[in-house]
């Protein structure tokens, strides 16, 4: 079993850290993992993306043309990556920042207005964790209970309030997926 | 029998290859005497330039390295940072230090590297046969400024002591000359002072020494000493430009 997930958005949306969090969590859950960022551009406020591979076996290539899943945080990223997702793959969309529907009919499309939800819970910086929580609840790539166990370890050295904020955002996403997806 | 003069222990028993009348030999001896008198020979590590003093490792009787052109201060940095209790010196000419090695010397000074630079300024490229140096005087004829150095074409001669004295990292900057015995003694004092300031860890130290090149200047040895006195010293005034005193 091997799955590859692309996270894409613009710099500052926490795209790279969202991918890193998932990579950590999957590693803690005993999976083989790799995290490959696009680099350079993210420092200049352009688009940012990273590719996470999670596998039971040893990972040969940490790079792919066709990820199984694309987590899309903004419109330009949908334009860029919609055609790349593997046939019958999954498209997770931040509908707060994407103003069109996907063209492809074969994809399973999971939409949630992340920025709006983040505003509602007064946690604007938690948008990426909301999306991640929803995605993991829906796909079970890593079990939610386990992810919650790993929070302290992954955020080691961070202030307790920051960890709590991230956890709250993550669980908001989990709840959203439970109810609406 | 009383010994009144002998070869310093810090010099090897090799004949200098320098041209008749060249003052490199005097400067080598002064550096060696200072190392002896401060008992630094066994802790000293020297770096030779590319230029006439490229073979200085055959003369100094301490650990020596030969550098790429202009890079001696960078090599000295690598050594001194790893062996801070050793005495590290570079011996560089004007092409090496002020032209191709301008970046290395300025940044070694800005970082306050605790090294001593012996900078031999004879206003010409010696080893390659008399080409223009960054310190060649205006009007001076060389093989690459055959009509005399013109400010419109070749710009102005580099005053390295003045330049490096501006740097906060410099602890001792002095310009001396070796055109007569009195100035030779002053040069020795300056080298002693620079080494002591290095030992005290106060920062970067350099002694710029005005030197002769009779061969490429086309002058006899005595004429060359006079030429230095009457042409170089007015443009390159002697004296200490920066001194952080040892407490």
């Amino acid at each position: 079993m091997e799955t590859q997930i692309l996270f894409a958005g613009f710099g500052g949306q926490g795209v790279l850290s969202m991918g890193q969090f998932l990579t950590y969590a999957a590693m803690e859950a005993g999976k083989n993992v790799s995290w490959v960022p696009s680099y350079g551009a993210e420092m200049r406020g352009g688009t940012a993306n990273c590719l996470v591979t999670i596998a039971d076996e040893e990972i040969s290539s940490p790079i792919t043309e066709n990820p199984v899943t694309a987590v899309i945080m903004n419109g330009p990223s949908l334009d860029k990556f919609e055609s790349k997702v593997m046939p019958n793959g999954i498209l997770v969309l931040n509908s707060s920042m994407v103003d069109r529907k996907p063209h492809r009919q074969d994809l399973q499309v999971l939409e949630l207005p992340v920025n709006q939800i983040a505003e509602e819970i007064n946690n604007p910086r938690g948008a990426n964790m909301i999306l991640l929580g929803a995605y993991l609840q829906k796909t079970g790539v890593v079990e939610i209970e386990k992810v919650l166990e790993y929070f302290e370890k992954i955020f080691k050295g961070k202030k307790p309030s920051i960890i709590e904020n991230n956890k709250e955002a993550f669980m908001t996403g989990v709840e959203y997926a439970r109810q609406k997806w | 029998m009383k010994v009144v003069a002998k070869r310093p222990e810090s010099l090897k028993d090799n004949k200098f290859h320098y041209c008749p009348g060249c003052t490199h030999g005097i400067i080598h001896r002064l550096v060696a005497e200072c190392l002896d008198e401060l008992s630094l020979r066994e802790s000293a590590i020297g770096i030779c330039p590319v230029g006439c003093a490229v073979l200085a490792y055959d003369y100094f009787n301490c650990d020596m390295l030969e550098a790429a052109h202009g890079r001696a201060p960078a090599i000295a940095t690598g050594i001194k940072r790893l062996l801070p209790d050793r005495t590290v010196f570079t011996y560089q000419g004007d092409g090496d230090l002020a032209s191709i090695g301008m970046g290395e010397i300025i940044h070694a000074s800005l970082r306050g590297e605790k090294i001593t630079v012996i900078f031999v300024n004879n206003a010409i490229y010696g080893m390659t046969g008399g080409q223009m140096a960054p310190t060649t005087l205006l009007g001076q004829v060389t093989t690459t400024s055959p009509y005399g150095r013109k400010k419109e074409w070749e710009g102005y001669p580099a005053k390295m002591a003045e330049l490096l004295a501006q740097s906060e990292g410099s602890a001792y900057i002095c310009r001396t000359s070796v055109h007569n015995p009195a100035n030779i003694l002053k040069t020795k004092k300056a080298i002693m002072k620079a080494l002591k300031i290095q030992q005290a860890g106060l920062g970067f130290t350099m002694v710029e020494i005005l030197s002769t090149c009779p061969t490429n200047w086309g002058l006899g040895p005595l004429e060359a000493l006079e030429w230095l006195e009457y042409n170089m010293i007015p443009y390159y005034p002697l004296g200490e430009l920066k001194v952080k005193e040892v407490e």
Binding site: S34, G40, S61 | A44, D63, M64, L65, G103
Partner: protein
């Protein structure tokens, strides 16, 4: 053992520290800068030396001086910076100063781009600077190897008194993978040649000037003998499914892992294809290639360049079978593209 998730550049830096590296001299350049940043954070706490040099030239010459003291020292850069260092690398090779030089490589020529590439292969394997010399060049393929090869690189450097280069595509520096931090027994070597002060011995001289033509030739023969010894002992490669292969893909670095996935897919399509991954780029594992040339019908060199390693493959094959090429620059070919390249060759040649 516990796994730690690390960036390739940081794993390499940590590996160097494990190997007993005492100093880093460098100049920032994407995509290698995290190595310098890691050392800048770590070295002040463990009595190491970090200097951000004013230039690549100064950095490599600080390495020259640092290595001459007998300590383990290193530098890291990327293509344009490695070009600037070549003068110093030539001096270091002739002065026989052990050190580690890392090229986290990007595409050229000129300023090129910052995306990963392997187009510094010629520069790395042919010496790079002036004169007859070689570097041992190691090509890691994952984050674990970034660490392991840094440790091994320092050992090879000391054992043979020679500069060692690690060449890794930019992606390897930037990506994260879990690694196991091993604590190997580090062998330290006597360095009686070091210029560290001549107390109780005759002075040492570190020098590369040999004005006597006879002695210059003697020095070159000495170096050549050393390179011959390295070539006879240190060639390394990995072979995968080559025994029955009609087509052998050759790729190094992270590219080799990408190619491996393509090879696995092609096998599923019934194509008898295998993979050779050179681990040492110099000395090049020509025996491994030559052996495969006895049984395979074709080779396919896959590189992130316009075709450089292919020349070494052709030398090893010595005209016995054809060698094809697939490469891109600025973009790392993905497994799907390599798969298509394999299938194209297979179809065309009836493999």
């Amino acid at each position: 053992m516990e796994k730690i998730l690390m960036k390739g550049n940081e794993a390499l830096a940590e590996g160097a520290i494990i190997a007993g590296c005492k100093a880093f001299f460098g100049y920032p350049i994407t995509p290698s800068s995290e190595i310098a940043e890691y050392m800048a954070r770590k070295f002040p706490k463990i009595d190491g030396v970090f200097v951000q040099a004013e230039s690549e030239l100064a950095a490599i010459n600080m390495v020259y001086g640092g290595a001459a003291t007998g300590h383990r020292v290193m530098t890291a850069s990327s293509g344009p910076g490695i070009s600037l260092k070549q003068e110093g690398i030539s001096f270091i090779a002739e002065a026989e100063l052990p050190c580690l030089i890392v090229n986290v490589s990007r595409g050229g020529p000129g300023l090129g781009g910052i995306q990963p590439a392997q187009s510094d292969y010629f520069q790395a394997t042919r010496g790079g600077g002036h004169g007859d010399y070689r570097l041992i060049v190691l090509a890691p393929s994952g984050v674990q190897e970034m660490m392991d090869f840094a440790i091994e690189g320092f050992d090879l450097a000391d054992r043979y008194r020679t500069p060692v280069m690690i060449m890794a595509e930019g992606t390897l520096g930037q990506m994260m993978e879990p690694i196991i931090v091993r604590e190997p027994v580090i062998q330290f070597y006597d360095k009686p040649w070091a210029t560290n002060g001549c107390q109780g011995r005759e002075p040492n001289i570190v020098n590369t000037l040999h004005l006597s033509a006879d002695y210059l030739e003697e020095r070159n023969h000495h170096l050549q003998k050393k390179y011959d010894a390295i070539a006879s002992r240190e060639k390394r490669a990995e072979s995968y499914l080559t025994e029955d292969a009609d087509l052998v893909v050759v790729a190094f670095g992270l590219m080799a892992r990408i190619a491996k996935k393509a090879v696995m897919e092609a096998r599923k399509s019934g194509i008898k294809v295998g993979l050779i991954r050179p681990i040492t780029l110099w000395p090049f594992p020509d025996a491994e290639i030559s052996k495969a040339a006895q049984t395979t019908k074709r080779f396919l060199s896959v590189e992130i360049s316009m075709g450089q390693m292919i020349e070494d493959i052709r030398l090893a094959v010595a005209g016995r079978v054809p060698v094809d090429f697939f490469g891109r620059i600025g973009i790392t070919p993905n497994p799907e593209e390599v798969f298509r390249a394999i299938m194209q060759v297979a179809e065309r040649e009836g493999i």
